[in-house]
Amino acid sequence: MESISQLLHFFPLIIVTIGSLVVMMVDAFSKDTAKLYYLSVFFLIAALAASISDVFGPAGEAFYGMAVYGGTSAMGGVIVLLGTLFVVLLCKEYLTAIKHHVGEVYSLILFCTVGMLVLVTANDLVTLFLGVETMSIALYVLAGLIKRDKAGAEAALKYFLLGAFATGFFLYGIALLYGAAGSTQLTAIAEVTDGGLIYWGGLAMLLVGIFFKISAVPFHMWTPDVYQGAPTLITAYMATASKAAVIVALIILLGRAFPDIHSDWAEVFQVIAVLTMILGNVIALVQDNMKRMLAYSSIAHVGYIMVGLVAGTAAGYSGVMYYLFAYTIMNVGAFGVVAYYERQKGLDFTNMENYGGLGYKQPMFGVAMSIFMFSLAGIPPFAGFIGKYQVFAAAVYEGYIGLVLVGVITSVIGVYYYIRVLVYLYMREPESDTVFQQPGMVYKTAILVLAIMTIYFGIQPGALSEIFTQGFEQLQIMAATGR
């Protein structure tokens, strides 16, 4: 009976779970795919509202310590659901345009979101693993949605094989940590601080599995190919919501299971952060394909996020949360615009060379793209700048000056390839006289809302970042008393 009252703290998860099953069943009996779209949007909005109210609710453990609620978990849920909602809103028009508007897409996206919501609430390695797998399996299928496209099939297969390999590492890490701590619960693992080789080996393998999912260097090899081959909005989904979910799970994992050995893992994280920032930014410089460029840019952003994790303080973690929030809105927006250009006939509009003069053809999308690109580059007054500032400030405060220096230099390098898009949009002659289809009302509004949010949270970060900081402190107090 205790479990039933605990369910009250997991409304977002329950709503999305019921939503995914309802959409699946309706899909089986109805030919009208548009109905599924409205149903999914309805369930996602309900879940988003529930998770926003959870942010201001209590925090604690539930289900025999298998899950946590409130605090960081609730905010992670908000970020994930926000990303998912906008992807689904944009999805309908995009999928109809590429003639792949099938009902299963919606139920799979919702199943995937269930996995992500489990991830952000995981307080046990078993739940963590199940969350990762539910999310990944749905993503493998979604990545291969366009079957006749060779690049799409390659992307799905590559993602699946490498993902399964990483899952092996992940599971082996869990097994070894269980051997060292005698429990899979995060707070029980925190009590062991040096269990010898079995402990360190387990931790290392667990982190390899997680680094693969967030595509940190040197586990990033799959990212560019998969991001390029998958349908553009699914790529947006993979790059934002799924990464945000895994990183929130990583924050909870580090904050609750490994807080006392921070100085040990921070060293490893530092090396990986430096590699990720340098490699992501430098390779992105020479990419002509927009989706590939955004893939390398997403690798670079993971590097900046890891700078915040290295700091290991409440300020660092809440900075990472803010970064994830900003990254989700601006990146879904950027991919949304790319998806709009891409579906025009005539030229290959994923290639940046063909972006000449597009800024004038659809002024609203041109301006929105400029806002997202400036924000991704980390230029004030956009949300991306605040996120970057917060993670770097937290790291400087903890004395990681060298690391932040690398971060700043690489973000300056990064500005080049983001601005390059704008140069093409506004300063080159058009490659062809393609007449652009008008975007639908929903599509336009969604992009507009994302652009406005990018500006708003760049100018008014105060309230939100305060909530993020409070949330993490709540989680920490809980970890201290939970033992």
């Binding site: 025999y64 298998m66 139920s107 739940t127 969350g131 539910t134």
Partner: protein, 167 residues
């Protein structure tokens, strides 16, 4: 006795795993995988985890391997006909003898090092069906439900990949 059986099963498992990877014919590989799984089921039994042992035989060695073999045969992999021709009894007997000798040697080494402590009485209780059911529907109720969603997602995904023909 337990130590002897453990070493036999362990050696057999490793040998079968190696043979599975090194073998060229896919059907042979699959059969070696069956052997590997059966020997691991034996190890589970020695650890007094009866439920796990039975599930290992039923699900892995049984159902999943049948699926494996079906797929291999449906796909018509080239080496398939060669299965029966290639079985060389002298070779098989020599492998089995080698395994036996090796495991005996390991047994001597193992008994000297006193490698295997006996399974504790309360540990033996953990492996029963009742104990697992209890845990599964109390402590692990949330993971159990998530597993249900995971499997549903996998089935929906598989059907979608197999079914839709886009113009």
């Amino acid at each position: 006795m337990v130590t002897y059986l453990f070493i036999l099963f362990a050696t057999l498992a490793i040998a079968a795993a190696l043979a599975m990877v090194l073998n060229r014919s896919t059907v042979n590989s699959a059969l070696f995988l069956v052997l590997n799984m059966l020997s691991i089921a034996g190890i589970y039994l020695l650890l007094k985890a009866q439920f796990l042992a039975v599930v290992q035989v039923l699900v892995y060695a049984g159902a999943i391997m049948v699926l494996f073999l079906f797929v291999i045969m449906l796909l018509n992999v080239e080496d398939e006909e060669a299965v029966l021709d290639k079985i060389n009894f002298r070779y098989i007997i020599s492998v089995i003898l080698g395994v036996v000798v090796l495991s005996y040697l390991l047994y001597i080494a193992g008994s000297m090092a006193d490698a295997l402590p006996p399974v504790a009485e309360d540990m033996a209780q953990v492996g029963t069906v009742e104990a697992i059911g209890d845990e599964l529907f109390s402590t692990y109720i949330l993971p159990l439900e998530i597993t249900a969603i995971l499997l549903t997602a996998a089935v929906v995904g598989a059907i979608m990949m197999a079914q839709h023909k886009f113009k």
